[in-house]
C-alpha cells in the first residue's frame, strides 16, 4: 500500500502557530486554573463525543433502549405511591395529586443519583485510558453528568402526561425550572468531581455511595413535602442543597407557584461555592491519578 497520498499532512496544522505547553509540579494559582479551563474548552469535541457515546453505549443491546430512562423514576413513583397513599398516609399540601408531586421530585432525584453513582466510577472504570493517554480528566465524570441530563430530558415528558391526566395546569412559573435544573447540575458536577477523584484513592466511596444516597433521599423532600418537616428543624434541614432544588422544582412546575427565592438561594450559594472548590480539588488530584489508580 502506498501511503504518500494516504496521509495528507494538513497545511493548516503547519502554518498555525504552535502552542507552547509547560508542565510543572502541581501547584495552585488562579492563572493555572484559567489555563486548565482553556484546555478543557480545547477538548470540547472529546467531551461531546464521549457524552454521545456514553448515552449510546448505555442503551445498546437493550430492547427497551432509552425507555429505561423513564422506567426507573416511573416504577419508583408507583412503589412510593402505593406505600405512601395506600399503606401510610403522607400529608400533602394543596390539591395536586400525590403521584404527580412524587414523580416531579423523583425526576430530579433520579438525575442526581444516577449522575453521582456513574460519575463516581468515571475515572476508575477508565484506567486503561487514564494511564495511557492525556486529556483533561474532568471530562470523564462530566460525560456521566451530561448523560444523566439526557435521561432527565427523556423522562420529563412523562411528567407532562401525568399533569394532563390529573388535570394539573402548567403556568409560566414552570420556566423557573430551567435555572433550578442549572443550579442542580452545578451542584451535581461539583459532587461528581470530588467523588470521582476521591474514589481513585479510596474505593470505599463507591461502596458507601448507595447507602449515602438512600439516607440523603429521605433527608430530602422527595416522598413528603417540605411543610411536613417540623419548623424547629427547618433551618438545619435547609442546609441540604437538594431541599431547595427539589421543593422548588416541584412548586414551579406542578403547583404553579413562584419559587421561594430564599430556599433556592441557599442551594445556589452552596453550588456556587462547591463547584470551583471541587474543580481545584480535582485538578490537584489529577496530577497523580495515573500513579495511584
Amino acid at each position: 500500500m502506498t501511503s504518500n497520498s494516504m496521509f495528507p499532512n494538513q497545511p493548516a496544522d503547519s502554518i498555525a502557530p504552535r502552542r507552547i505547553k509547560v508542565i510543572r509540579a502541581p501547584s495552585f494559582s488562579v492563572l493555572r486554573l484559567l489555563g486548565d479551563l482553556a484546555i478543557l474548552s480545547h477538548y470540547r469535541d472529546l467531551l461531546y463525543t464521549l457524552s454521545v457515546h456514553r448515552i449510546k453505549v448505555r442503551y445498546k443491546q437493550s430492547v427497551l433502549g432509552v425507555t429505561w430512562a423513564v422506567v426507573q423514576p416511573l416504577s419508583l413513583m408507583l412503589i412510593y405511591t402505593v406505600i405512601f397513599t395506600v399503606i401510610i398516609k403522607v400529608p400533602t399540601t394543596g390539591s395536586v395529586a400525590y403521584p404527580v408531586l412524587l414523580y416531579a421530585a423523583l425526576l430530579i432525584w433520579t438525575f442526581f443519583s444516577t449522575a453521582l453513582t456513574s460519575a463516581t466510577n468515571g475515572l476508575v472504570s477508565h484506567t486503561h485510558l487514564v494511564t495511557k493517554v492525556y486529556f483533561p480528566r474532568e471530562i470523564l465524570p462530566l460525560t456521566y453528568v451530561i448523560a444523566a441530563v439526557f435521561d432527565l430530558l427523556i423522562a420529563s415528558p412523562v411528567l407532562l402526561g401525568l399533569m394532563i391526566y390529573y388535570g394539573v395546569p402548567l403556568t409560566f412559573n414552570a420556566l423557573y425550572a430551567v435555572p433550578i435544573v442549572l443550579i442542580m447540575a452545578m451542584f451535581i458536577t461539583g459532587m461528581a468531581l470530588i467523588f470521582s477523584a476521591a474514589q481513585v484513592r479510596f474505593r470505599d466511596i463507591g461502596m458507601a455511595l448507595p447507602l449515602l444516597l438512600q439516607i440523603w433521599m429521605f433527608a430530602t423532600p422527595v416522598v413528603y413535602p417540605l411543610s411536613a418537616v417540623p419548623e424547629r428543624f427547618r433551618s438545619l434541614y435547609m442546609l441540604n442543597p437538594m431541599v431547595g432544588v427539589i421543593e422548588n422544582f416541584r412548586r414551579v412546575l406542578v403547583e404553579a407557584a413562584p419559587p421561594n427565592f430564599y430556599e433556592i438561594g441557599i442551594s445556589a450559594l452552596i453550588a456556587l461555592l462547591l463547584l470551583p472548590a471541587a474543580y481545584i480539588f480535582f485538578k490537584h488530584v489529577e496530577a497523580t491519578i495515573a500513579d495511584v489508580i
Binding site: D13, K21, I23, L46, T49, K56, H128, V133
Partner: protein, 417 residues
Amino acid sequence: MIDLKFNKVSKRYRVRKQLAQDASSHPIIRKIQSLRRPAQDFWAVRNVSFEVERGESLGIIGHNGAGKSTILKLLANITAPTGGEIVINGRLSALIEVGSGFHPELTGRENIYLNGSILGMRRREISEKLDSIVDFAGVRQFLDTPVKRFSSGMYVRLGFSIAAHLNPDILLLDEVLAVGDAAFQAKCLQRINELKEAGTTIVFISHDLGAVERVCDRVLLMQRGEIVADGSPAQAISEYQRLSSGLEVSHVKLSKEAEITSVNLYRSEVDDFSTFHTGEPLTICVNYTAHERVKDAVFEVLIDTQEGELQCHLTTDLNNKRIDLEPGTGSIVFTCEELGVSPGLHYISAAIIHRGQALGESIDYRERCATFRVDPGKITRGKFYMPFQWNFEPGESYYTEAGVGQEAREIVSPKAF
C-alpha cells in the same frame, strides 16, 4: 529551534512497604500499620535535563526500571513531575498501545471518532480523514460492525491507522513496533519515516535496539532514573551493551572454588563492540577469579535469543586439553572466525563446571550476563550464517557428469578461472 525541553525534571514515588508480619493481621490493621511507617522515596526520574531540536529523532533506551516509561508518561502529561519543568513546543501525540481507547460495543466508525477525539483530534478533522483511516486499516466492509466482533488483527490495524493519521509536531512512540506481524511493523516504520521526513520531532522509547538505531539520530541511555549517556545511536547502544555485560541478572553462586567476574565481547581488530555483523569475527572473553585450586575445569558459553531459544553452545570440553585453575585471576578467550548466529539481540550466559558435570552443578553460572546485537552482515535472512563460497560456471554441470564426492571439493576452489 528547541521543540522539547526537560529542565531538571524529577519524579518521586512514595513506597510504603508491607512487612511480612502484617500479612496475618486484619486488612484494616495492616493498612493502619503501613500508614504509620514512614514512606520510602523512590526516584523514578532524578534531575533529568535534555533538549530535543525540531526534526530530531531522539531514542531513549535503558533496562527495565531505568525510568524510560516514566519519562514517556511525564512527556505525555499522564502524570505530573515532582520537580522541574517540561516545555513542549507544539502539538504532541503519543502512539502508545494502539486501540486502548476502543469501546467494544461501539461500531468501527463510532470508535474512530471516539479514539480520534481521545488522541486530541477535532471531529471535523476526523471526518476529513475518515476514508483514509478506513482504507489504511482495510476494514471498510466492517465499518458499522461493533468492534467486539473484529478480529484482533483488524482491531490493531484500526487502532494504528487512527494514530497514524494524527499530524503531530512531536510524536511519542512506545513499544508500538513490538506488536503485530512483520508487515504491520514495516507499515509502522514506513509511517514513522514519513513523519520524520515531514520534519516531525520524534521521541522513541524502546527495548528494540535495532529499531532505535534505524529511527533515531540521537539516543539517551538511562539508568536508575538518570541519563548516563547521550550521543549517537552507536555510542549509546554500545554503552548500553557495556552496562549489560557488567549486569548481574541472575547470578547463581554455587561453590566457593571459582567465579566468573565478567564477560566481554570484542570484534577482533578494534575494541568497538557496538555492532557485530554476521560472518565477521567475534571474540568472547570470560574473566574468572579462582579462590582455590580447581582441577579439570570446563568453561562454557551459551548464546540464546531474547525468547530464550538456545542458539549456540561453546565449550572447552571438546578437545582433550585440560584446564587446571590456580588461585588468582585469568581469562578464557573464545575466538570465532565467523559469527554464525542470526541478526538480532542475543544473550550470553557463561559457566565454569567440573568436567562431566551438568550445568546445574556448576562451580559458577552467570545467566544472561551480557547482551550483544548482531546486524545483518554476510547474511540478512535465515536462522544462521554458514561459511560459503561460490563460483560461476557457465555451460558446465558438474553433478550430472561425475560423482559428487570428488568433484564437489573442486567447486570450492576457483580453478575454472
